[in-house]
């Protein structure tokens, strides 16, 4: 492991929502470190605090207590505008509910973060063409988000989050609205960018997506109950002599 600072370090992170006087503890003392190049899947039942956790890591929700360090810098103490700058420079975020800019085309939605990040219009276009192409959306570039299905919007949101080649990709259920074929496109793209060194923290229920990760973190009631590598299978590799189906003679 290299000596560079981890991309993410959360220390005793806590989030308590206050709704009508009643405190709702959503995240209860999470410690999490993600090294550069790691792919971490976050799993857990509905309401276990997954979205709250990644929103805090992306500065989209304030923490109640604890520390967040991104790329070696303290981030939880940043102002809203400080977070905005940090996000623009370092974080690609895929929301559970897309958040595309309604009055911009798909192409512009994807190119915008790259342009804001300072790359040339040509590079932004090339990156956009690559990402939309990989996700099977090349022919939707001129559409507006409202003309897209939920699954298409979700893939555009992923392309947008990756446009900038961010230091950290945070994604909340990025395949929640996809059928099996579109999920396969997303998996292939995630595999490609992870292979190129992209650091990924991703919330998912989908075991196919989670199985792409190096590590799985399980949340229950706002706490981490498991954090570790997905083991190499102990069985002989599936293949010519696969054993997906039980043999009965």
């Amino acid at each position: 492991m290299s000596s560079e600072a981890p991309v993410v370090r959360a220390v005793n992170l806590v989030k308590i929502y206050q709704t009508g006087g009643l405190p709702v503890p959503a995240v209860r003392g999470v410690d999490l470190t993600v090294e550069a190049g790691e792919f971490v899947a976050i799993m857990g039942p509905s309401g276990s605090g997954k979205s709250t956790l990644v929103h805090m890591l992306g500065g989209l929700d304030t923490r109640t207590s604890g520390e967040i360090w991104l790329d070696g810098r303290r981030a939880d103490t940043l102002s809203e505008s400080g977070w905005a700058v940090l996000r623009r420079e370092k974080i690609g975020f895929v929301f559970q509910f897309f958040n595309l800019v309604a009055n911009m085309t798909v192409a512009d939605n994807v190119e915008l973060p790259a342009l804001l990040g300072g790359v040339s219009p040509r590079q932004a276009r090339e990156r956009r063409e690559y990402l939309l192409g990989e996700l099977g959306l090349a022919d939707r570039a001129g559409a507006s988000p409202a003309q897209l299905s939920g699954g298409e919007q979700q893939r555009v949101a992923l392309a947008r989050a990756l446009a900038n080649q961010p230091r950290l990709l945070l994604a909340d259920e990025p395949t929640g609205n996809l059928d099996s074929r579109n999920t396969r496109d997303v998996l292939r793209l995630l595999g490609q960018v992870h292979g190129q060194g992209q650091t990924i923290v991703l919330v998912t229920h989908d075991a196919r997506v989670a199985s792409m990760a190096d590590r799985v973190v399980s949340l229950l009631d706002g706490q981490i109950v498991d954090d570790g590598a997905i083991p190499k299978s102990r069985r002989r590799p599936l293949g010519a002599a696969g054993d997906v189906v039980e043999l009965r003679s």
Partner: protein, 168 residues
């Protein structure tokens, strides 16, 4: 395997090795490649039950080979098999037995069991994903078999989550 061999023989007579090859071609890497011994054992049983018969066919410069063909009884058995509904999903689950019983004996706590099992399922899922990537995209049968296994695994994982939520 009895029924798949019967079905192949209903199409045309064949010898053991041809049956093995046909199963491999149709189901690809997703199906456990039966060894030739298993095939002959199964054919032997089918023959004893009167579902198939065999004839020795002479070959030039080689020992005779046994060619199997289906009988009328075999065809009836095959029809019954095709027409009756297939068993639904299992209800007895070995992991669930461990999950319920092991804590009572102090052998392991549930959280640890669930966590280990989740990682194991994800590791199996990775194997299936890689198998799907290696499989010829034109082999729909093999790919559907793999997808079916993936969906079962997803259901197992979802159930694991329910167990973790609801068992103290």
């Amino acid at each position: 395997m009895r029924q798949s061999l019967l079905a192949l023989l209903a199409k045309e007579p064949a010898h053991g090795y041809e049956l093995k090859q046909a199963l491999e071609t149709i189901f690809g890497g997703a199906y456990p490649s039966p060894n030739i011994g298993q095939i002959y054992v199964t054919l032997g049983r089918l023959e004893k039950d009167g579902y198939v018969r065999s004839v020795d066919v002479e070959q030039a410069n080689r020992p005779n080979k046994k060619v199997y063909y289906i009988t009328a009884t075999g065809r009836e058995a095959l029809e019954t098999w095709v027409e009756e509904p297939t068993e639904g999903p299992r209800v007895r689950d070995e992991f669930f037995m461990k999950l319920v019983l092991a804590p009572m004996t102090g052998l392991s706590d549930r959280m640890a069991l669930v966590n280990r099992q989740r990682r194991h399922y994800l590791s199996l899922m990775r194997d299936l994903r890689e198998l799907a990537e290696r499989t010829d995209p034109a082999n729909r049968v093999a790919l559907l078999l793999i997808e079916g296994a993936m969906l079962h695994l997803q259901a197992d994982l979802d159930w694991l989550e329910r167990c973790q939520e609801d068992l103290p």
